[in-house]
Symmetry: C2
Protein backbone atom coordinates (compact mmCIF):
# COMPACT_ATOMS: atom_id res chain seq x y z
CA UNK A 1 0.00 0.00 0.00
CA UNK A 2 2.93 2.37 0.39
CA UNK A 3 3.03 2.58 -3.42
CA UNK A 4 -0.56 3.80 -3.77
CA UNK A 5 -0.98 7.17 -5.43
CA UNK A 6 -4.14 8.97 -6.44
CA UNK A 7 -4.23 10.52 -9.86
CA UNK A 8 -6.41 13.54 -9.34
CA UNK A 9 -8.41 12.70 -12.48
CA UNK A 10 -9.99 9.83 -10.53
CA UNK A 11 -11.69 12.44 -8.38
CA UNK A 12 -11.70 15.13 -11.03
CA UNK A 13 -14.25 17.38 -9.39
CA UNK A 14 -12.92 17.02 -5.86
CA UNK A 15 -11.09 20.10 -4.70
CA UNK A 16 -7.36 19.66 -5.22
CA UNK A 17 -6.54 20.76 -1.67
CA UNK A 18 -8.90 18.21 -0.17
CA UNK A 19 -7.46 15.49 -2.38
CA UNK A 20 -3.92 16.40 -1.32
CA UNK A 21 -4.94 16.37 2.34
CA UNK A 22 -6.59 12.97 1.95
CA UNK A 23 -3.41 11.61 0.38
CA UNK A 24 -1.36 13.11 3.22
CA UNK A 25 -3.46 11.28 5.81
CA UNK A 26 -2.58 7.88 4.35
CA UNK A 27 0.93 8.66 3.16
CA UNK A 28 -0.02 8.47 -0.53
CA UNK A 29 1.36 10.39 -3.47
CA UNK A 30 -0.73 12.32 -5.94
CA UNK A 31 -0.65 12.83 -9.70
CA UNK A 32 -1.69 16.39 -10.47
CA UNK A 33 -3.23 18.01 -13.55
CA UNK A 34 -2.16 21.30 -15.01
CA UNK A 35 -5.61 22.90 -15.15
CA UNK A 36 -6.49 22.59 -11.44
CA UNK A 37 -2.89 23.49 -10.57
CA UNK A 38 -3.23 26.66 -12.62
CA UNK A 39 -6.60 27.42 -11.07
CA UNK A 40 -5.19 27.13 -7.54
CA UNK A 41 -1.94 28.78 -8.55
CA UNK A 42 1.34 27.03 -9.28
CA UNK A 43 3.25 28.43 -6.31
CA UNK A 44 0.31 27.86 -3.96
CA UNK A 45 0.01 24.25 -5.11
CA UNK A 46 3.72 23.68 -4.70
CA UNK A 47 3.44 25.03 -1.15
CA UNK A 48 0.35 22.92 -0.49
CA UNK A 49 2.00 19.61 -1.38
CA UNK A 50 5.26 20.56 0.33
CA UNK A 51 3.53 21.53 3.56
CA UNK A 52 1.37 18.42 3.42
CA UNK A 53 4.39 16.23 2.79
CA UNK A 54 2.71 14.68 -0.25
CA UNK A 55 4.86 13.50 -3.15
CA UNK A 56 3.71 14.69 -6.56
CA UNK A 57 4.12 11.48 -8.54
CA UNK A 58 3.44 12.99 -11.97
CA UNK A 59 2.09 16.01 -13.73
CA UNK A 60 -0.53 15.48 -16.42
CA UNK A 61 -0.03 16.45 -19.07
CA UNK A 62 2.08 17.60 -21.91
CA UNK A 63 2.17 16.39 -25.48
CA UNK A 64 -0.17 17.07 -28.42
CA UNK A 65 2.82 17.42 -30.70
CA UNK A 66 1.34 16.17 -33.92
CA UNK A 67 0.19 19.51 -35.27
CA UNK A 68 3.86 20.32 -35.68
CA UNK A 69 3.35 23.84 -34.35
CA UNK A 70 5.65 25.93 -32.19
CA UNK A 71 2.86 26.65 -29.73
CA UNK A 72 2.88 23.00 -28.64
CA UNK A 73 6.61 23.10 -28.00
CA UNK A 74 6.30 26.31 -25.99
CA UNK A 75 3.41 24.90 -24.00
CA UNK A 76 5.41 21.79 -23.20
CA UNK A 77 8.33 23.93 -22.01
CA UNK A 78 5.93 25.58 -19.61
CA UNK A 79 4.66 22.19 -18.50
CA UNK A 80 8.22 21.08 -17.78
CA UNK A 81 8.76 24.21 -15.73
CA UNK A 82 5.54 23.60 -13.81
CA UNK A 83 6.56 20.02 -13.07
CA UNK A 84 9.89 21.24 -11.77
CA UNK A 85 8.23 23.78 -9.48
CA UNK A 86 5.86 21.12 -8.15
CA UNK A 87 8.67 18.64 -7.64
CA UNK A 88 6.95 16.22 -10.06
CA UNK A 89 9.63 13.93 -11.46
CA UNK A 90 7.55 12.89 -14.48
CA UNK A 91 5.62 14.89 -17.06
CA UNK A 92 3.07 12.59 -18.69
CA UNK A 93 2.78 13.11 -22.44
CA UNK A 94 -0.31 12.39 -24.50
CA UNK A 95 1.38 12.79 -27.83
CA UNK A 96 -1.51 13.83 -30.07
CA UNK A 97 -3.68 12.29 -32.77
CA UNK A 98 -4.01 13.01 -36.47
CA UNK A 99 -4.10 16.80 -36.77
CA UNK A 100 -6.08 16.88 -40.01
CA UNK A 101 -7.24 14.73 -42.91
CA UNK A 102 -4.10 15.28 -44.96
CA UNK A 103 -1.50 14.33 -42.37
CA UNK A 104 -0.79 10.64 -42.39
CA UNK A 105 -0.09 8.63 -39.27
CA UNK A 106 3.60 8.19 -40.12
CA UNK A 107 4.04 11.95 -40.38
CA UNK A 108 2.23 12.45 -37.10
CA UNK A 109 4.45 9.87 -35.42
CA UNK A 110 7.58 11.50 -36.84
CA UNK A 111 6.47 14.81 -35.34
CA UNK A 112 6.32 13.18 -31.92
CA UNK A 113 9.93 12.05 -32.31
CA UNK A 114 10.97 15.54 -33.41
CA UNK A 115 9.25 17.20 -30.47
CA UNK A 116 10.89 14.80 -28.04
CA UNK A 117 14.29 15.61 -29.52
CA UNK A 118 13.68 19.30 -29.03
CA UNK A 119 12.25 19.03 -25.51
CA UNK A 120 14.46 16.33 -24.00
CA UNK A 121 17.48 18.56 -23.28
CA UNK A 122 15.24 21.14 -21.67
CA UNK A 123 13.54 18.48 -19.54
CA UNK A 124 16.91 17.03 -18.60
CA UNK A 125 18.12 20.43 -17.35
CA UNK A 126 14.94 20.83 -15.33
CA UNK A 127 15.25 17.38 -13.78
CA UNK A 128 11.88 16.33 -15.18
CA UNK A 129 11.43 13.17 -17.20
CA UNK A 130 9.23 13.17 -20.29
CA UNK A 131 6.91 10.20 -19.84
CA UNK A 132 5.53 8.93 -23.16
CA UNK A 133 2.16 7.34 -22.59
CA UNK A 134 0.88 4.91 -25.20
CA UNK A 135 -2.88 5.28 -25.40
CA UNK A 136 -5.32 2.56 -26.37
CA UNK A 137 -5.60 2.27 -30.17
CA UNK A 138 -9.19 3.52 -29.99
CA UNK A 139 -7.63 6.95 -29.32
CA UNK A 140 -5.13 6.80 -32.20
CA UNK A 141 -6.90 9.31 -34.44
CA UNK A 142 -7.99 11.90 -31.92
CA UNK A 143 -5.56 11.76 -29.01
CA UNK A 144 -2.44 9.74 -29.45
CA UNK A 145 -0.73 8.08 -32.39
CA UNK A 146 1.49 6.20 -29.94
CA UNK A 147 -0.62 3.08 -29.51
CA UNK A 148 1.64 0.40 -28.02
CA UNK A 149 4.21 0.26 -25.28
CA UNK A 150 6.71 -1.15 -27.74
CA UNK A 151 6.28 1.97 -29.86
CA UNK A 152 6.74 4.21 -26.82
CA UNK A 153 9.94 2.39 -25.89
CA UNK A 154 11.24 2.84 -29.44
CA UNK A 155 10.46 6.57 -29.29
CA UNK A 156 12.24 6.88 -25.95
CA UNK A 157 15.27 4.81 -26.95
CA UNK A 158 17.39 7.61 -28.50
CA UNK A 159 17.37 9.57 -25.23
CA UNK A 160 18.91 8.99 -21.81
CA UNK A 161 16.67 6.80 -19.67
CA UNK A 162 16.56 9.47 -16.97
CA UNK A 163 15.24 12.04 -19.48
CA UNK A 164 12.62 10.20 -21.53
CA UNK A 165 10.59 7.33 -20.12
CA UNK A 166 7.33 5.50 -20.77
CA UNK A 167 4.07 5.12 -18.92
CA UNK A 168 2.54 1.70 -18.37
CA UNK A 169 -1.20 2.25 -17.94
CA UNK A 170 -3.08 -1.03 -17.76
CA UNK A 171 -6.17 0.47 -19.34
CA UNK A 172 -4.32 1.29 -22.53
CA UNK A 173 -2.14 -1.78 -22.93
CA UNK A 174 -3.87 -4.76 -21.28
CA UNK A 175 -4.99 -6.27 -24.61
CA UNK A 176 -1.55 -6.22 -26.29
CA UNK A 177 -0.05 -9.66 -26.96
CA UNK A 178 3.41 -8.07 -26.89
CA UNK A 179 2.99 -5.96 -23.77
CA UNK A 180 4.95 -8.12 -21.35
CA UNK A 181 7.92 -8.23 -23.71
CA UNK A 182 7.62 -4.46 -24.02
CA UNK A 183 7.57 -4.00 -20.24
CA UNK A 184 10.75 -6.06 -19.97
CA UNK A 185 12.37 -3.97 -22.69
CA UNK A 186 11.35 -0.79 -20.83
CA UNK A 187 13.57 -1.66 -17.84
CA UNK A 188 15.02 1.54 -16.44
CA UNK A 189 12.61 3.69 -18.45
CA UNK A 190 9.32 3.16 -16.65
CA UNK A 191 8.24 6.63 -15.61
CA UNK A 192 4.89 5.73 -14.20
CA UNK A 193 2.73 2.71 -13.58
CA UNK A 194 -0.95 3.57 -13.76
CA UNK A 195 -3.87 1.27 -13.15
CA UNK A 196 -7.46 1.30 -14.34
CA UNK A 197 -9.76 -1.56 -15.22
CA UNK A 198 -11.27 -2.36 -18.61
CA UNK A 199 -15.05 -2.61 -18.65
CA UNK A 200 -17.63 -2.81 -21.40
CA UNK A 201 -19.84 -1.55 -22.89
CA UNK A 202 -17.84 1.58 -23.60
CA UNK A 203 -19.68 4.88 -23.35
CA UNK A 204 -20.13 7.20 -26.33
CA UNK A 205 -16.84 8.93 -27.05
CA UNK A 206 -15.06 6.17 -25.07
CA UNK A 207 -13.09 8.62 -22.92
CA UNK A 208 -14.89 8.24 -19.62
CA UNK A 209 -15.48 4.52 -19.37
CA UNK A 210 -12.51 3.37 -17.32
CA UNK A 211 -13.46 0.83 -14.71
CA UNK A 212 -12.87 0.95 -10.98
CA UNK A 213 -10.23 -1.61 -9.99
CA UNK A 214 -11.80 -5.04 -9.84
CA UNK A 215 -14.84 -4.18 -11.96
CA UNK A 216 -13.29 -5.42 -15.19
CA UNK A 217 -10.94 -7.94 -16.74
CA UNK A 218 -7.44 -6.55 -16.13
CA UNK A 219 -5.04 -8.84 -14.27
CA UNK A 220 -3.34 -6.14 -12.20
CA UNK A 221 -1.07 -8.46 -10.27
CA UNK A 222 0.37 -9.83 -13.49
CA UNK A 223 1.18 -6.30 -14.61
CA UNK A 224 2.59 -5.39 -11.22
CA UNK A 225 4.83 -8.44 -11.26
CA UNK A 226 6.08 -7.56 -14.75
CA UNK A 227 6.68 -3.91 -13.91
CA UNK A 228 8.44 -4.85 -10.68
CA UNK A 229 10.59 -7.34 -12.60
CA UNK A 230 11.60 -4.51 -14.91
CA UNK A 231 13.00 -2.73 -11.87
CA UNK A 232 10.26 -0.18 -11.30
CA UNK A 233 9.88 0.52 -7.59
CA UNK A 234 7.91 3.77 -7.78
CA UNK A 235 4.34 4.75 -7.07
CA UNK A 236 1.32 3.11 -8.64
CA UNK A 237 -1.22 5.72 -9.67
CA UNK A 238 -4.90 4.98 -9.94
CA UNK A 239 -6.25 7.02 -12.83
CA UNK A 240 -9.93 6.51 -13.60
CA UNK A 241 -11.86 8.63 -16.08
CA UNK A 242 -15.37 7.63 -15.23
CA UNK A 243 -18.54 9.69 -15.30
CA UNK A 244 -20.18 7.66 -12.55
CA UNK A 245 -17.22 8.02 -10.21
CA UNK A 246 -17.03 11.72 -11.02
CA UNK A 247 -20.65 12.15 -9.97
CA UNK A 248 -19.93 10.79 -6.49
CA UNK A 249 -18.35 12.60 -3.50
CA UNK A 250 -14.55 12.69 -3.65
CA UNK A 251 -13.94 11.26 -0.15
CA UNK A 252 -16.19 8.29 -0.90
CA UNK A 253 -14.47 7.51 -4.22
CA UNK A 254 -11.07 7.96 -2.60
CA UNK A 255 -11.87 5.47 0.17
CA UNK A 256 -13.31 2.98 -2.29
CA UNK A 257 -10.27 3.32 -4.54
CA UNK A 258 -7.85 2.72 -1.68
CA UNK A 259 -9.80 -0.39 -0.69
CA UNK A 260 -9.91 -1.69 -4.28
CA UNK A 261 -6.19 -1.05 -4.69
CA UNK A 262 -5.45 -3.08 -1.56
CA UNK A 263 -7.61 -5.93 -2.80
CA UNK A 264 -6.62 -6.07 -6.47
CA UNK A 265 -3.19 -4.50 -6.88
CA UNK A 266 -1.12 -4.38 -3.69
Amino acid sequence: MNRFALNHATTKFWDQREAVEACARIGAGIGLWREPVAAAGLAATAALVRDAGVAVTSLCRGGFFTGGDRAAIEDNRRAIEEAAVLGAPELVLVCGGLPDRDTGIDTARARVAEALAELAPYAGEAGVRLAIEPLHPMFASDRCVVSTLEQAVELAAPFPAETVGVVVDTYHVWWDPRVFDAIASAAGRISSFQVADWVTPLPAGVLTGRGQLGDGCVDFRRFKTAVDAAGYTGPIEVELFNDVLWSRPGPEVFAETVERFARHVA
Copy 2:
Protein backbone atom coordinates in the same frame (compact mmCIF):
# COMPACT_ATOMS: atom_id res chain seq x y z
CA MET B 1 -13.79 -1.61 -59.71
CA ASN B 2 -13.94 -5.27 -60.70
CA ARG B 3 -12.72 -6.11 -57.19
CA PHE B 4 -15.58 -4.37 -55.42
CA ALA B 5 -17.71 -6.58 -53.20
CA LEU B 6 -20.54 -5.65 -50.88
CA ASN B 7 -20.52 -7.16 -47.45
CA HIS B 8 -24.21 -7.48 -46.69
CA ALA B 9 -23.68 -5.98 -43.22
CA THR B 10 -23.20 -2.60 -44.93
CA THR B 11 -26.87 -2.77 -45.92
CA LYS B 12 -27.91 -4.96 -43.04
CA PHE B 13 -31.64 -4.36 -43.30
CA TRP B 14 -31.80 -4.52 -47.09
CA ASP B 15 -33.38 -7.72 -48.31
CA GLN B 16 -30.67 -10.23 -49.19
CA ARG B 17 -32.21 -10.99 -52.60
CA GLU B 18 -32.28 -7.33 -53.57
CA ALA B 19 -28.68 -6.92 -52.45
CA VAL B 20 -27.60 -9.93 -54.52
CA GLU B 21 -29.45 -8.58 -57.55
CA ALA B 22 -27.83 -5.18 -57.15
CA CYS B 23 -24.42 -6.83 -57.02
CA ALA B 24 -25.27 -8.87 -60.12
CA ARG B 25 -26.07 -5.71 -62.05
CA ILE B 26 -22.58 -4.30 -61.55
CA GLY B 27 -20.64 -7.57 -61.55
CA ALA B 28 -19.80 -7.34 -57.86
CA GLY B 29 -19.35 -10.12 -55.33
CA ILE B 30 -21.14 -10.27 -52.01
CA GLY B 31 -20.16 -11.26 -48.48
CA LEU B 32 -23.10 -13.00 -46.82
CA TRP B 33 -24.12 -13.46 -43.20
CA ARG B 34 -25.39 -16.67 -41.70
CA GLU B 35 -28.52 -15.25 -40.11
CA PRO B 36 -30.10 -13.80 -43.29
CA VAL B 37 -28.94 -16.87 -45.19
CA ALA B 38 -30.74 -19.08 -42.69
CA ALA B 39 -33.84 -16.88 -42.82
CA ALA B 40 -34.01 -17.15 -46.61
CA GLY B 41 -32.95 -20.80 -46.55
CA LEU B 42 -29.49 -22.11 -47.29
CA ALA B 43 -30.40 -23.96 -50.50
CA ALA B 44 -32.53 -21.08 -51.73
CA THR B 45 -29.70 -18.63 -51.13
CA ALA B 46 -27.23 -20.89 -52.90
CA ALA B 47 -29.60 -21.01 -55.88
CA LEU B 48 -30.12 -17.26 -55.74
CA VAL B 49 -26.43 -16.39 -56.01
CA ARG B 50 -25.78 -19.13 -58.57
CA ASP B 51 -28.63 -18.00 -60.81
CA ALA B 52 -27.59 -14.36 -60.42
CA GLY B 53 -23.99 -15.19 -61.24
CA VAL B 54 -22.80 -13.44 -58.08
CA ALA B 55 -19.67 -14.68 -56.34
CA VAL B 56 -20.02 -15.17 -52.60
CA THR B 57 -16.77 -13.66 -51.42
CA SER B 58 -17.06 -14.71 -47.78
CA LEU B 59 -19.47 -16.03 -45.20
CA CYS B 60 -19.69 -14.20 -41.87
CA ARG B 61 -19.18 -15.65 -39.44
CA GLY B 62 -17.79 -18.41 -37.38
CA GLY B 63 -15.62 -18.24 -34.31
CA PHE B 64 -16.45 -17.45 -30.66
CA PHE B 65 -14.14 -20.22 -29.55
CA THR B 66 -12.98 -18.82 -26.25
CA GLY B 67 -15.64 -20.44 -24.07
CA GLY B 68 -13.90 -23.70 -24.86
CA ASP B 69 -17.24 -25.48 -25.33
CA ARG B 70 -18.16 -28.20 -27.79
CA ALA B 71 -21.18 -26.25 -28.98
CA ALA B 72 -18.91 -23.67 -30.56
CA ILE B 73 -17.00 -26.33 -32.45
CA GLU B 74 -20.20 -27.91 -33.69
CA ASP B 75 -21.58 -24.55 -34.75
CA ASN B 76 -18.41 -23.82 -36.68
CA ARG B 77 -18.66 -27.17 -38.45
CA ARG B 78 -22.13 -26.15 -39.59
CA ALA B 79 -20.78 -22.79 -40.70
CA ILE B 80 -18.12 -24.52 -42.77
CA GLU B 81 -20.80 -26.67 -44.38
CA GLU B 82 -22.92 -23.62 -45.12
CA ALA B 83 -19.97 -21.85 -46.72
CA ALA B 84 -19.34 -24.89 -48.89
CA VAL B 85 -22.96 -24.99 -50.03
CA LEU B 86 -22.90 -21.29 -50.86
CA GLY B 87 -19.59 -21.58 -52.70
CA ALA B 88 -18.02 -19.13 -50.25
CA PRO B 89 -14.27 -19.77 -50.24
CA GLU B 90 -13.71 -18.06 -46.89
CA LEU B 91 -15.40 -18.39 -43.52
CA VAL B 92 -14.67 -15.27 -41.49
CA LEU B 93 -13.91 -16.01 -37.84
CA VAL B 94 -14.50 -13.61 -34.97
CA CYS B 95 -12.62 -15.64 -32.44
CA GLY B 96 -14.31 -14.59 -29.18
CA GLY B 97 -13.54 -12.41 -26.18
CA LEU B 98 -12.96 -13.24 -22.54
CA PRO B 99 -15.66 -15.74 -21.62
CA ASP B 100 -15.77 -14.86 -17.92
CA ARG B 101 -13.89 -13.05 -15.18
CA ASP B 102 -11.72 -16.02 -14.30
CA THR B 103 -10.41 -16.88 -17.74
CA GLY B 104 -7.27 -14.93 -18.57
CA ILE B 105 -6.48 -13.62 -22.01
CA ASP B 106 -3.69 -16.14 -22.57
CA THR B 107 -6.08 -19.00 -21.89
CA ALA B 108 -8.65 -17.51 -24.22
CA ARG B 109 -6.03 -17.14 -26.94
CA ALA B 110 -4.90 -20.73 -26.45
CA ARG B 111 -8.48 -21.88 -26.94
CA VAL B 112 -8.56 -20.14 -30.30
CA ALA B 113 -5.48 -22.08 -31.38
CA GLU B 114 -7.03 -25.34 -30.16
CA ALA B 115 -10.27 -24.72 -32.02
CA LEU B 116 -8.39 -23.93 -35.22
CA ALA B 117 -6.46 -27.18 -34.90
CA GLU B 118 -9.69 -29.11 -34.57
CA LEU B 119 -11.55 -27.32 -37.36
CA ALA B 120 -8.81 -26.89 -39.96
CA PRO B 121 -8.90 -30.46 -41.31
CA TYR B 122 -12.67 -30.30 -41.62
CA ALA B 123 -12.47 -26.95 -43.41
CA GLY B 124 -9.75 -28.29 -45.69
CA GLU B 125 -11.95 -31.22 -46.72
CA ALA B 126 -14.83 -28.85 -47.41
CA GLY B 127 -12.67 -26.54 -49.52
CA VAL B 128 -13.41 -23.61 -47.22
CA ARG B 129 -10.66 -21.50 -45.68
CA LEU B 130 -10.88 -20.39 -42.06
CA ALA B 131 -10.26 -16.65 -42.14
CA ILE B 132 -8.99 -15.33 -38.81
CA GLU B 133 -10.02 -11.72 -38.41
CA PRO B 134 -8.11 -9.59 -35.94
CA LEU B 135 -10.52 -7.13 -34.40
CA HIS B 136 -9.65 -3.70 -33.08
CA PRO B 137 -8.28 -3.91 -29.51
CA MET B 138 -11.37 -2.11 -28.24
CA PHE B 139 -13.18 -5.42 -28.84
CA ALA B 140 -10.60 -7.59 -27.08
CA SER B 141 -12.69 -8.33 -24.00
CA ASP B 142 -16.10 -8.88 -25.53
CA ARG B 143 -15.58 -10.10 -29.08
CA CYS B 144 -12.10 -11.09 -30.10
CA VAL B 145 -8.86 -11.69 -28.24
CA VAL B 146 -7.03 -11.65 -31.57
CA SER B 147 -6.16 -7.96 -31.73
CA THR B 148 -3.39 -7.59 -34.31
CA LEU B 149 -2.72 -8.93 -37.77
CA GLU B 150 0.64 -10.20 -36.58
CA GLN B 151 -1.15 -12.32 -33.97
CA ALA B 152 -3.57 -13.65 -36.60
CA VAL B 153 -0.67 -14.62 -38.86
CA GLU B 154 1.00 -16.43 -35.95
CA LEU B 155 -2.23 -18.33 -35.23
CA ALA B 156 -2.55 -19.30 -38.90
CA ALA B 157 1.09 -20.28 -39.35
CA PRO B 158 0.84 -23.94 -38.21
CA PHE B 159 -1.75 -24.72 -40.90
CA PRO B 160 -1.61 -24.89 -44.69
CA ALA B 161 -2.09 -21.46 -46.24
CA GLU B 162 -5.04 -22.73 -48.26
CA THR B 163 -6.81 -23.89 -45.08
CA VAL B 164 -6.29 -21.08 -42.57
CA GLY B 165 -5.90 -17.46 -43.62
CA VAL B 166 -6.26 -13.98 -42.19
CA VAL B 167 -8.55 -11.04 -42.82
CA VAL B 168 -7.16 -7.56 -43.34
CA ASP B 169 -9.90 -5.14 -42.35
CA THR B 170 -8.70 -1.56 -42.37
CA TYR B 171 -11.08 -0.56 -39.59
CA HIS B 172 -9.47 -2.97 -37.18
CA VAL B 173 -5.80 -2.57 -38.05
CA TRP B 174 -5.24 0.93 -39.44
CA TRP B 175 -3.64 2.23 -36.21
CA ASP B 176 -1.07 -0.57 -35.85
CA PRO B 177 2.55 0.52 -36.30
CA ARG B 178 3.42 -3.04 -37.31
CA VAL B 179 0.56 -3.64 -39.72
CA PHE B 180 2.46 -3.25 -42.98
CA ASP B 181 5.10 -5.71 -41.86
CA ALA B 182 2.29 -8.06 -40.86
CA ILE B 183 0.61 -7.72 -44.25
CA ALA B 184 3.90 -8.62 -45.95
CA SER B 185 4.27 -11.63 -43.67
CA ALA B 186 0.72 -12.72 -44.53
CA ALA B 187 1.62 -13.26 -48.19
CA GLY B 188 -0.35 -16.24 -49.49
CA ARG B 189 -2.63 -16.23 -46.47
CA ILE B 190 -4.81 -13.20 -47.04
CA SER B 191 -8.33 -14.55 -47.08
CA SER B 192 -10.14 -11.29 -47.37
CA PHE B 193 -9.44 -7.60 -47.67
CA GLN B 194 -12.18 -5.53 -46.09
CA VAL B 195 -12.45 -1.77 -46.00
CA ALA B 196 -14.18 0.63 -43.65
CA ASP B 197 -13.16 4.07 -42.48
CA TRP B 198 -12.28 5.15 -38.95
CA VAL B 199 -14.33 8.06 -37.64
CA THR B 200 -14.75 9.63 -34.23
CA PRO B 201 -16.46 10.16 -31.89
CA LEU B 202 -17.30 6.50 -31.44
CA PRO B 203 -20.88 5.69 -30.50
CA ALA B 204 -21.79 3.99 -27.22
CA GLY B 205 -20.87 0.33 -27.43
CA VAL B 206 -18.50 1.20 -30.31
CA LEU B 207 -19.85 -1.51 -32.60
CA THR B 208 -21.79 0.55 -35.08
CA GLY B 209 -19.52 3.51 -35.69
CA ARG B 210 -17.64 2.44 -38.81
CA GLY B 211 -17.25 5.24 -41.27
CA GLN B 212 -18.29 5.34 -44.90
CA LEU B 213 -15.21 5.27 -47.14
CA GLY B 214 -13.69 8.73 -47.29
CA ASP B 215 -15.37 10.02 -44.14
CA GLY B 216 -12.43 9.20 -41.89
CA CYS B 217 -8.68 8.93 -41.68
CA VAL B 218 -7.84 5.56 -43.25
CA ASP B 219 -5.40 5.64 -46.16
CA PHE B 220 -7.07 2.93 -48.23
CA ARG B 221 -4.70 3.13 -51.17
CA ARG B 222 -1.74 2.49 -48.92
CA PHE B 223 -3.44 -0.63 -47.60
CA LYS B 224 -4.45 -1.74 -51.09
CA THR B 225 -0.87 -1.34 -52.31
CA ALA B 226 0.42 -3.38 -49.39
CA VAL B 227 -2.18 -6.13 -49.78
CA ASP B 228 -1.57 -6.26 -53.53
CA ALA B 229 2.18 -6.48 -52.90
CA ALA B 230 1.51 -9.47 -50.66
CA GLY B 231 -0.01 -11.20 -53.68
CA TYR B 232 -3.69 -10.80 -52.85
CA THR B 233 -5.72 -10.39 -56.03
CA GLY B 234 -9.18 -11.15 -54.65
CA PRO B 235 -12.25 -9.08 -53.91
CA ILE B 236 -12.29 -6.04 -51.67
CA GLU B 237 -15.33 -6.11 -49.43
CA VAL B 238 -16.87 -2.98 -48.01
CA GLU B 239 -18.16 -3.82 -44.55
CA LEU B 240 -19.68 -0.92 -42.63
CA PHE B 241 -21.51 -1.34 -39.35
CA ASN B 242 -23.16 2.04 -39.07
CA ASP B 243 -26.49 2.95 -37.56
CA VAL B 244 -26.94 5.93 -39.85
CA LEU B 245 -26.26 3.91 -42.99
CA TRP B 246 -28.58 1.17 -41.73
CA SER B 247 -31.39 3.70 -41.36
CA ARG B 248 -31.19 4.64 -45.06
CA PRO B 249 -32.60 2.76 -48.06
CA GLY B 250 -30.38 -0.09 -49.25
CA PRO B 251 -30.19 0.98 -52.91
CA GLU B 252 -29.10 4.48 -51.92
CA VAL B 253 -26.38 3.20 -49.56
CA PHE B 254 -25.25 0.70 -52.18
CA ALA B 255 -24.86 3.37 -54.86
CA GLU B 256 -23.05 5.69 -52.48
CA THR B 257 -20.72 2.89 -51.39
CA VAL B 258 -19.84 1.99 -54.98
CA GLU B 259 -19.07 5.63 -55.69
CA ARG B 260 -16.94 6.01 -52.55
CA PHE B 261 -15.07 2.82 -53.37
CA ALA B 262 -14.24 4.13 -56.85
CA ARG B 263 -13.03 7.41 -55.39
CA HIS B 264 -11.05 6.20 -52.37
CA VAL B 265 -10.02 2.59 -52.93
CA ALA B 266 -10.00 1.51 -56.57
